[in-house]
Symmetry: C2
Subunit: 225 residues, 2 copies
């Protein structure tokens, strides 16, 4: 489903060149549940943004469901993102002037789904925010904002869920509830990739990918928990 | 040092009233190292904002170093914040158009410190960002931004350090380095209050406070690790 070959992503800072991703090779099949781990600054979010068609790269190739992503224009990328991908951002990226409910309805409105309100409300209930749907992001706690971001990614029942540190702001009980939701999604033969620094979450994933300085140092290990 | 008595903080949403803090009583002596734990939405950040003189409350009293905080005007509060308190925000609150170095220098400039640049650089080295000092926040990873926020709070060697989820975006090795820095600060007889949902961090604090629905449910337990 996802095939990265020699992918490079660099940033130029003055005379320096920073390799955020340094010749990354990665094959992910449909229905997998992977954890991406590695030190702060090692390239995890960069990898996720490229897989999620949010960012372009500088060298190498990326095939998603058989299509070469770098041949697609911006409209086509936006369409893939809306149709196939659910993305939970490390910094949430909620729209500040919309309520939690409106933020979660948005991907459904783009798809022209019938009855977006009830679907959005249902997912907000699932993440424990049933009594917060009319709050704006600045009227929510950090973990509540994180859960709105999670709800928004799940509401379209995406084929591929990309979650960048989804439990970073949650207590363990609330985090458990979120992982239950991910398990339910995975049982529907969805593909899930989670960036996490929490060992318990990484250990629940059948496969773990280690990043360090933009390079993948381990990718075949099937962790038998 | 810190004395909260019957503190109440509410938010009005339409006809509903939300008690973010519900009659909170709390005594903290100089030199303590406390963990604040509790579910998402239980009032932890609200409590920290009030202790840190960033937010006003609706009932009760708060005495900081013997002074009644609600009698102080905005200028006096700003002065206390700059002189005595270092605050690490759950959402970092970095200035986007300044570099990491400039963000960390800012509290020193307010104090009129001599040689702010070298002090700011030293703390950025301490948090592992020596090679990122000229990056702007949008040129940094999530955990790097978190570390800039940490450096900014530590650079003034504050009497009271308030840290709201300081390791939420950090891998365990980098998180360990940050906790080492906190230990060093604490050995200088500084008072540290950390909001965290990570059990290992909470267990290292001699005292733990549990919040639930805006109420303190436990505050005397000295956790013998
Ligand atoms: N401006 C506001 N208007 C209405 N409700 C608010 C506002 N700010 C916060 N709240 C509510 O107050 C409660 C406490 O918020 P707070 O940010 O202190 O929680 P928290 O314990 O820090 O949570 P987390 O662990 O998720 O960061 C939450 O339920 C939140 O929805
Ligand atoms: N716009 C940019 N300009 C320069 N360098 C950048 C830019 N964006 C990211 N970087 C650098 O690229 C590297 C990888 O960033 P990335 O966000 O992928 O790390 P990460 O593994 O997600 O880290 P974290 O665990 O802290 O979130 C970092 O060292 C960062 O400083
Ligand atoms: Mg990241
Ligand atoms: Mg909070």
């Amino acid at each position: 489903l996802i095939k990265l070959k020699d992918v490079v992503k660099t940033y130029r800072m003055g005379s320096r060149e920073i390799f955020a991703l340094d010749h990354v090779n990665l094959d992910i099949e449909s229905g997998e549940y992977l954890a991406v781990v590695g030190p702060s600054g090692s390239g995890k979010s960069t990898l996720m943004n490229i897989i999620g068609c949010l960012d372009r790269f500088d060298a190498g190739t990326y095939r998603l469901a058989g299509e070469n992503v770098d041949t697609l224009n911006d409209n086509e990328l936006a369409r893939i993102r809306n149709r196939k991908i659910g993305f939970i951002f490390q910094t949430f990226n909620l729209l500040p002037r919309m309520t939690a409910l409106e933020n979660v309805k948005l991907p459904l409105l783009y798809r022209g789904t019938s009855n977006p309100r009830s679907q959005a409300e249902a997912v907000l209930e699932d993440v424990g925010l049933g009594d917060r749907i009319d709050h704006h992001p600045n009227e929510l706690s950090g973990g509540q904002r994180q859960r709105v971001a999670i709800a928004r990614a799940l509401v379209t029942d995406p084929q591929v869920l990309l979650a960048d540190e989804p439990t970073g702001n949650l207590d363990s009980a609330t985090g458990e509830e979120i992982l239950e939701l991910f398990n339910r999604l995975h049982s529907n033969e969805r593909t899930i990739i989670v960036v996490t620094h929490e060992k318990e979450l990484a250990q629940r994933c059948p496969r773990q990918i280690n990043l360090r300085d933009g390079k993948i140092t381990q990718t075949e290990a099937r962790v038998d928990a």
